[in-house]
């Protein structure tokens, strides 16, 4: 009964529940938000019905980007943690005899993905950011059978973090022989279990 008395004055909508709702949603999104990691590579992954989320930790990602010339794929390598990256760089120093200074180490530890041969790594780390981006458009980790550096990367990463899991993130148009080489490389490293990164697709009704 008391409600109708308000009609005498001009209509005022009570905004309080709306504010409550808005702030509730803000809180929710603020807490769940995970900003998109800057990705150096644009990879269009295929969709599948697999619904297991990618673990955020202890993961190494072998990315295969499309080649601008159309054929083949360019292989990149990335691990999740800064710590592992530094440990890998140590291993590269030991194995190949390159010496990296503190600035180069610092830069290497923040780069999410690396796609250059070991020989070029030092020069790559001395490029400016724009130059690195341009460089990333046409480089790859060598995966030929005579010079398979991807195997070395995997070996170093597993040395640095024995718990690490392997995921392949490939462009859907990558020719299969490239994938076959990567799987072959993994087999040579005695890795028989790995993951393929996909986007979710609805499960068909059976």
């Amino acid at each position: 009964m008391a409600k109708f008395k308000a009609k005498k004055q001009n209509i005022a909508i009570d905004m309080t529940p709306m504010v409550d709702l808005a702030f509730l949603l803000i809180t929710f999104f603020m807490l769940t938000v995970k900003f998109r990691a800057p990705e150096s590579l644009e990879v269009h992954v295929p969709s599948s019905i697999a619904d297991t989320p990618l673990p955020a930790q202890d993961i190494m990602v072998i990315s295969v980007a499309p080649d601008s010339s159309g054929g083949g794929g360019r292989v990149f390598f990335g691990v999740d943690s800064k710590h592992t990256r530094l440990a890998i760089l140590e291993k590269i120093q030991e194995r190949y005899g390159y010496v990296f200074d503190d600035r180069e180490k610092q830069l290497f530890s923040v780069l999410p993905e690396i796609g250059v041969a070991f020989e070029q790594l030092k020069a790559y780390l001395n490029l400016s950011e724009a130059e690195r981006k341009a460089f990333d458009k046409h480089t790859s980790i060598p995966i030929d059978s005579t010079n398979n550096q991807l195997g070395q990367w995997i070996l170093f990463a597993r040395y640095s973090n024995p718990k690490i899991r392997i995921a392949i993130r490939s462009d859907e148009k990558t020719p299969y022989p490239v994938i076959a080489r990567i799987i072959e490389t993994l087999k040579d490293q005695k890795v028989h279990r790995f993951n393929l990164i996909t986007t979710l697709e609805a499960q068909p009704k059976s």
Binding site: F29, V33, E172, T174, V178, N195, P204
Partner: protein, 188 residues
């Protein structure tokens, strides 16, 4: 007892309600509109920056390499339980058995494609040998895309096929597909 309790709690509530009705008249109103504006602005920001499509992963297990040193032979399987898929770009050539393979072709279309073929073959094997006896051998051809690879593994997940193996294609099978393609060109 229950009725009494109900009656007791009901009475004071009514009293409170009538007391409340007088209060809002005197309370100063705060204009919430700017707050709502701000709230929704922030809300929009967070909604847009949230990564909604978190990547998913599909597990793959590949058989270990067998070298001469290992002194293990690859596992033998009965040809009657096998279906071999030769996956090309968007197309699947398949044959059943091992001796005298007769090639057929299908694709990834959901109703009439490979799923139907696999389910039919499974029903056949199940009738003769029991459940979960069918073995799918997947061989990827060089002209296939990564997409085809994911699609075929996806098919395995869709029909819940546990026994499948990823094997390298043999030169004989490549020839077989070449021949099949030629005969198809002639007839069409």
């Amino acid at each position: 007892m229950a009725a009494e309790v109900g009656g007791d709690s009901g009475a004071p509530k009514k009293g409170k309600k009538s007391g409340k009705a007088h209060k809002p008249k005197k309370r100063p109103r705060i204009d919430m509109t700017p707050m709502v504006d701000l709230g929704f602005l922030l809300l929009t920001f967070f909604v847009l920056t949230t990564t909604m499509s978190t990547p998913n992963t599909m597990p793959v297990v590949v058989p270990p390499k067998i070298t001469e040193k290992d002194e293990v032979e690859p596992p033998k399987i009965s040809e009657r339980k096998v279906i071999t898929l030769l996956v090309s770009r968007g197309k699947i050539y398949y044959y059943t058995g091992i001796e005298n393979p007769e090639l057929h072709v299908t694709d990834f279309s959901p109703k009439t494609g490979i799923r139907k073929t696999l389910l039919e073959r499974r029903a056949e094997v199940e009738a003769n040998y029991g459940k979960d006896e069918m073995i799918v051998i997947i061989k990827m051809m060089d002209d296939a895309h990564y997409r085809d690879f994911v699609d075929i593994l996806d098919e395995m997940a869709v029909i819940n096929q546990k026994k499948y193996a990823l094997v390298d294609i043999t030169p004989e099978e490549k020839e077989l597909v070449e021949e099949y393609r030629k005969t198809m060109e002639k007839t069409s």
